[in-house]
């Protein structure tokens, strides 16, 4: 099986890449910027797991670069079985303190680029009449709180889009699901102040950060045939924050 994973150089995407490699997936590891340390990491991982891992570099903010990246993926002439739309950006700001330009920037990455990836990759999946798309959403798109106008609404949009895409692409044998992580131990997870983090723990059953590997296990399940009857769902992995 072959998987495309965006934002695979760090955080949750990196954990997904490791988990998928250990489970015998060949991977197109997408990242924004070429780096030697990333390439040596994937070389080692690919050797130790006996799978192929190819780096593909593009900035999700650049539509043409996204197309070139996907073209590169298609040039391998392999089936594209899984797309994990993981890369995303955080942003905190209230309604009055979020300039429209910032809103556009967040939507460009967290929504438009994700749609573009689904449009392009699903064409290969349509030819195959099979595929699984996993969008990394967020409980921030479900729980309505103050101060996350851009991020929260972008993730809410992804939840809706995931369900709509599942309905539209089902005819082509493509399943589309989402994962809504809670606070996860990555750079983005530590974006909130300590006080904000404590407030989240206070309303969560399991009072700790999620591990990126725990999110990755959810992605592995949704990608697999064990989830063959699941589409249009959002798997919440948040330690019991949104119940």
């Amino acid at each position: 099986m072959n998987a495309v994973i965006t934002g695979s150089n760090r955080g949750i995407g990196n954990a997904i890449m490791h988990t998928f490699a250990h489970n015998k997936y060949n991977i197109w590891a997408c990242a924004r910027t070429p780096s030697e340390s990333f390439e040596s990491e994937i070389n080692q991982l690919s050797k130790s797991c006996g799978v192929s891992i190819e780096p593909v570099y593009f900035d999700l903010a650049d539509e043409n670069a996204v197309k070139a990246g996907v073209k590169q993926i298609f040039s391998y002439k392999k089936s594209v079985d899984v797309l994990v739309n993981n890369a995303g950006m955080g942003h905190g700001g209230t309604l009055m303190m979020t300039p429209v330009s910032k809103l556009r920037e967040v939507y460009e990455i967290n929504v438009f680029a994700q749609i573009h990836m689904m449009q392009l990759i699903s064409r290969a999946m349509t030819r195959q009449q099979s595929g699984s798309i996993i969008n990394i959403c967020s409980v921030g798109g479900m729980e309505v709180g103050k101060g996350y106008i851009a991020y929260g609404s972008s993730k809410a949009a992804m939840i809706w889009l995931t369900k709509a895409a599942a309905k539209e692409l089902g005819e082509f044998g493509i399943r589309v699901n989402g994962i809504a992580p809670g606070l996860t131990d990555t750079e983005m997870g530590h974006y909130k102040s300590d006080e904000e983090i404590q407030k989240v723990f206070d309303r969560t059953v399991i009072k700790r950060f999620g591990k990126p590997e725990e999110i990755a296990q959810g992605a592995l399940y949704l990608a697999s045939d064990a989830a063959a009857f699941i589409t249009g769902q959002i798997l919440v992995i948040d330690g019991g924050r949104v119940i």
Partner: protein, 79 residues
């Protein structure tokens, strides 16, 4: 197989139509060319000609003839 033969073959195979039906064939002109058939057709054309079509061109692809025009003008497919 030359490009027009390839183009016709994709149409016939993905929409299940005969060669005689191709001239003048329009989107929704046959049951099989509905929105689902359209995506299948585009996906197969992309593979056959090794191209990636713009969303605007997928929308404009409204007939057998228009499709030829789009492929020739925008994707360097010589017919």
């Amino acid at each position: 197989m030359n490009n027009i033969e390839k183009y016709n073959k994709v149409f016939m195979e993905s929409l299940g139509v005969t060669e005689e039906q191709l001239a003048g064939l329009e989107y929704t002109g046959v049951d099989s060319w509905d929105s689902v058939g359209h995506m299948n057709l585009i996906a197969c054309l992309e593979e056959a000609f090794d191209i990636m079509m713009e969303t605007d061109d997928i929308i404009d692809f409204s007939s057998y003839e228009k499709g030829k025009e789009i492929l020739a003008e925008k994707y360097d497919v010589a017919f």
